[in-house]
Symmetry: D2
Subunit: 463 residues, 4 copies
Amino acid sequence: MSDQRIFQYVPSGAWGLVEPLFSQRAKSLLLTLIDFVENDVLPAENLFHAQLAPHGPERWKSIPAVLEELKNKAKKQGLWNLWLSKGEFSGMAGGSGGGLTNLEYAVMAEIMGHSVILAPQATNCSAPDTGNMEVLARFGTQAQKDKYLGRLLQGEIRSSFSMTEYGVASSDATNLKNTTARVEGDKVIVNGHKWWISGAGDPRNAIHIVLAVTDPSNPSPHKRHSLVLVQPSSKGVDVVRPLQVFGYDDAPEGHCEVKYKDVVIGVEEGIVGGRAGLGRGFEIIQARLGPGRLHHCMRSIGMASKALELLMQRVTDPIRKTFGKELHQHGTILADIANSRAEIDQARLLVLAAARQIDLHGAKAAMKDIGISKFTVPTMALRVVDRAIQVHGAEGICQDTHLPYFYAQLRTLRFADGPDEVHVQQIGKQELKRVPMLRERYDGVRKREEALFKAHGKVKAKL
Amino acid sequence: MSDQRIFQYVPSGAWGLVEPLFSQRAKSLLLTLIDFVENDVLPAENLFHAQLAPHGPERWKSIPAVLEELKNKAKKQGLWNLWLSKGEFSGMAGGSGGGLTNLEYAVMAEIMGHSVILAPQATNCSAPDTGNMEVLARFGTQAQKDKYLGRLLQGEIRSSFSMTEYGVASSDATNLKNTTARVEGDKVIVNGHKWWISGAGDPRNAIHIVLAVTDPSNPSPHKRHSLVLVQPSSKGVDVVRPLQVFGYDDAPEGHCEVKYKDVVIGVEEGIVGGRAGLGRGFEIIQARLGPGRLHHCMRSIGMASKALELLMQRVTDPIRKTFGKELHQHGTILADIANSRAEIDQARLLVLAAARQIDLHGAKAAMKDIGISKFTVPTMALRVVDRAIQVHGAEGICQDTHLPYFYAQLRTLRFADGPDEVHVQQIGKQELKRVPMLRERYDGVRKREEALFKAHGKVKAKL
Amino acid sequence: MSDQRIFQYVPSGAWGLVEPLFSQRAKSLLLTLIDFVENDVLPAENLFHAQLAPHGPERWKSIPAVLEELKNKAKKQGLWNLWLSKGEFSGMAGGSGGGLTNLEYAVMAEIMGHSVILAPQATNCSAPDTGNMEVLARFGTQAQKDKYLGRLLQGEIRSSFSMTEYGVASSDATNLKNTTARVEGDKVIVNGHKWWISGAGDPRNAIHIVLAVTDPSNPSPHKRHSLVLVQPSSKGVDVVRPLQVFGYDDAPEGHCEVKYKDVVIGVEEGIVGGRAGLGRGFEIIQARLGPGRLHHCMRSIGMASKALELLMQRVTDPIRKTFGKELHQHGTILADIANSRAEIDQARLLVLAAARQIDLHGAKAAMKDIGISKFTVPTMALRVVDRAIQVHGAEGICQDTHLPYFYAQLRTLRFADGPDEVHVQQIGKQELKRVPMLRERYDGVRKREEALFKAHGKVKAKL
Amino acid sequence: MSDQRIFQYVPSGAWGLVEPLFSQRAKSLLLTLIDFVENDVLPAENLFHAQLAPHGPERWKSIPAVLEELKNKAKKQGLWNLWLSKGEFSGMAGGSGGGLTNLEYAVMAEIMGHSVILAPQATNCSAPDTGNMEVLARFGTQAQKDKYLGRLLQGEIRSSFSMTEYGVASSDATNLKNTTARVEGDKVIVNGHKWWISGAGDPRNAIHIVLAVTDPSNPSPHKRHSLVLVQPSSKGVDVVRPLQVFGYDDAPEGHCEVKYKDVVIGVEEGIVGGRAGLGRGFEIIQARLGPGRLHHCMRSIGMASKALELLMQRVTDPIRKTFGKELHQHGTILADIANSRAEIDQARLLVLAAARQIDLHGAKAAMKDIGISKFTVPTMALRVVDRAIQVHGAEGICQDTHLPYFYAQLRTLRFADGPDEVHVQQIGKQELKRVPMLRERYDGVRKREEALFKAHGKVKAKL
């Protein structure tokens, strides 16, 4: 019975492979989450938008009331901080979290993708907060944890990760040299110009984690940076403007251009990890990225899945008949459905296998699987959403469906955390590391072939 | 020398085929247009946006001053109403027009696509005005021409074509039955609910040409409709809201939801063609569509071409180096460029051949070529623009380039004037009309083959 | 250690998901199979071809000696009849088989795909024999089993499945009406014209299982056919010619055109299941198809995997440098590798999930998953093999690599057992069966949304 | 009337653009050619194959009688050596040729593509003979012309171009260093190992034009090679084996592996151009390639066009009904037709524009257009042929249609004369040469924009 409920979101094919790897508790949480998303979150989406001011400065000042309601419900149902792995933050308020494996949480992230705007926020599972909490938990000083981590885990404040530099080809992270955090005694002075700082528009934002150069002359380009904790209310922080994605501003969080001018913080207070954290910026970033990428992927699959649901309802809508037939009876529509289904199913399994790799061997060992997911899933999801747009006609491109917004969101994932091209090249190169082993195997085959020809009294000749 | 200037926009391959078909005057106009777009229109684009109010009701009330400047310049240089075919509107103020062949104008429409927002407006070559002027010129009464056509030709007013119905699968035009124009004596009363009425937000808009049912019981579904001229200031016209394309509102023109409630007009004044025009709605629409579709295609090719120009400048920008190389030295970028070039070149030739067909045989005979262009070009242009977005990274998706706006515009063309799928099906069916002739040819070959086998004393057997 | 050996063929991502579902015995068999393929089968491939006569009638008369050697080795190592599910044929000589789950065997079928010509034959896991053995085991009379099944299980004889009719659109199985098996008393007389009868060229072939109409006037089109056991040595059986696939004849098995003219057999002896089997042709066929399709898919993935191995060795071959670089350093090659890897990985997981579905819920319940695999995998594999061909240049298209042969084999899978298009349409339709449930869910969301708007004192309006 | 006949092969869209560029004579020749192909050549194709021995050495010894008949007919109708440009070989027997422009001949090459096996041979327009005749005519000594060119022009002998080296990455022509032609006094001694020598299996073959190193230490890698005329009957020439393409051998011409061992010829007689031709190998090759590539492209378009004709007849064949409908009424078939038509039409125009470029500006100036055609057309044609195969089901893959052979032929064109990838990279790089001009244009726009903002009293700010 409960499986049938799950099959409404996760098809039996995928479930058949992962169910044996699910704990009883995780399965139960999954069902609770499905109900929560369907009964509470999805019905709140349009209200959330209606409670936002449509434009102007007030758009960036208030938080829709319905969101706080959802957060309270989620907490009560144990759906809070689901992304938190078992035991990692134990002992902290709000720190119990899901205690889920990466595989288990991945399935839940897909469910959240059905309401990509609200479900992650409602459950305190939103980027960039999740990654930032990880950074603080693993690398922050106790004082930093006390100041920020607890409130983040409780969902009282929000945060930004301030990495991409304005006017810099940031897909090569070593290019990030224009933002500096000069250490002078026990002070550090931050100067820089960043953009695409998600969440920087949010009135609840209490902290930017800023990647900045602290040691420009270090011979290793990967030891020059540190992460600096900058409060947006500090003197010298200027949130210049929100950027739009295909015309969308993602208020109240926003993706902002931000300037830091002579922002002063204490070293011990401001550098993640305190003075000991100086020069560890890249090291910490690396640790932050793996699982987060899979969360994006699974939410994307949720979006694709929802787009397909909308598509299927549209093409069977009797009032949408053209030329005497429902849309699904025309031309390529059934093929669009079948192909979308095939593509979504494949992508889901790919990401689940990657999540399982993290569980088995850790994020580093899973980098190849994560990378393949990273460059595969958004493109797939864009394709499915685009098909859904097309069957909706003009309605599919405007504010009356979520589809164009889904498209815009997904499109950014083809460069967020590194453009597809970088991941494709890296995977290509990693795959080539198998070549020596392949040559050995193929040489062995050739040798045994020669012996076999000889044994059979035949000469190996070109055909 | 002048050819070199043309080659900056139209590559020599295409030019070599069409140049012999260009009049000297058209060639000269083309060069004037190129200069105008580059020297006057493109530099005005950002100013145009800066002169618009950013949001709120005032956004829909004013027209940027720079636009009127451009219109005056265009008139002085003979670049006004270029779309007007030779002699069609002669004797009217502003009615001299380009006097160009469809082929000649097609090449110019591509140039305008480089500034798709402003160049068509600046030269009075914008949809939906051009199609509406055609309707009035060919089918309007003299009084209707006097009232609207002259001012449209002068660029004093703008207009809408009000066809798509809210909540109706409008890609099958016979589904359009909910908007009615009830004839009562010498009055006609319009009621209906439309949307995607481009230009209906514009303060200069002086006329909606509304497709409405006047004869619901006519046995022929194609004789039930008439075109009704409705002034937006009339009692009963309600512009409900602008629709967004992705997040863009295309102010001040807009694409609007419009309700008509008991709007009363005189039959002779309100029905296109007067009382004699009753029941001719579909007939008139058909005549309106052919060349307009090619104009959209050529402007799309201009957009794709410009996107490729942006892409190429980006990937050779020395400050965009990653991993020690300029972007074009990485992976698939050169292939993206070569493929984009190949796709644009092919699409351009396709549309030019279709335009030539109209010149040779008329729009009706060219419907197959027009249809192929219609479903081919926007998809191609979307692909090129998407590649350009990708190399720009996050910058490519926000308000700092025209690329996401181009994408949004082009995406609508995959359903405007009928979704791709409808055109694909129609072309497929038309192509199948060749089958009887093919069978005859192939049967002939088989018969001669038998004779030949016999003559050579061989028996035809399966191999 | 042993996992590392497995990872040479099955990447750790997929293995991580399926390993918990593998029995210890299956894992051990998998390792044995990998060694057998690499040490014995692959080295024998070229010898197998060299031991075949190059052309003429003798090409269809002998069986390469090396094949029998391989079969003996496979038997000794317990690699015989691996496809046989647990217990199904127990008590028969050769009938112990693999005793594997569908999931376990699927992984092994991929390994066999690395030597698609020899490995399945060497292990008695070849189509169409496996399907035919299933038919006989489940539906044959004891006498039929005694006569054919035992020898098939021992690999002493081979068999054909004679279904596709010459000149008939066989993808709609109800079109198959031209081959008849007229029952006269206790005799049945077979007449018909079939083609693409795989294995009919083989000198070891001892039985054709022929689909023929026995009850043409049965009101149900699915009860008109029976399966008839025809010995190729019978009077009236004419193997007309071998068909070529892209020029390949697949000797000595071949894919043949076959005519049956007044072939007489006893009913009890000739109808599968004896007289009780009359009219059950379609029913039996259906039962035969599910797992067999997944075997084809997994072998195809093995072929794609091997093609990628060849590609990677080629592009890193130092003697293949062009313009001063190895091939992988040029343009799109790394992207080809990464995309191939991503596509293979996704397809493998898809098929494994389908195999797991059969294990969990039976073949019928798994039809959707099987169908998606069926239309997805061959196209994917063709794409990968084509990329491998391309990097090999002219060598990749000729007899010096297996690649063009792989391509030809895979290409047939896009219509064997029904063309992709039929499966795509069926999956599209099946997927649409979810719509009522979707509507219910979405209606529920809308109702709760309304309540929520009311509770928050907001009116839901169009944006 | 005659236009209708042309439209059966060249659609009116393309014809409308090129017809004004056709001479009256060319138009008349085109009609003659269409009749010849349809009435004489196509009916002879199967007979040609039936007159070839099916296998064994005799397959490579005889020439089907029907071919000579066709050649005689072609000569009588003025369809001989159509590829010969105006006046180039005048004064030679057989040297009058077509006297056509490249554009005119391109259209005819498409017609020949409908019978790609026979039409080019029947009209003496086959590769590699055409290119070889060009080499001899432009660069040969008078004695060489007397000995070979006249007989080639008459179709009495055939020839090979011996370039690709065995085991060498020949797509980078500077890699070709293993075949040497050592000059010793007035003798030259050739040693080398080549393959893919088309036509080397043909009993009529009288000359191999061999690319060989004559000056290995020349500082310029492009001056090290010469072209050597080697008679296949010479001592030391060993035609090792025919290569297969997929499983096709292309007998009697073949594509052969050839070894040259100490083959001795006189310098003046053996080096193309005599002693003065030493070191000019690459220079001569370059001159040979341009138009030939377009011929391949146009023949490919003819093949695609024919494949679409077969597809359309198949999907409307009433005996091919499945599930109660003709194939064209199912799913994606109409889309396949429409897309094939769109792709063929675009590709044709692309190649015609390139041919026109050669006519206007010469082959060198047209290299970009030729390159784009080269990498675009075969892939397009493969796609169309593959769709045609698919609707034919298994019949589409075997010897009963030309489709798999078309596929095999077209597949080789993706690396013949350089793989797609090399051309794609070159076109990408050439396109980037436009960047400085683009930057200048865009900088100009930016400057004028600034002035305009100032003039309007606005400050340009980020939105």
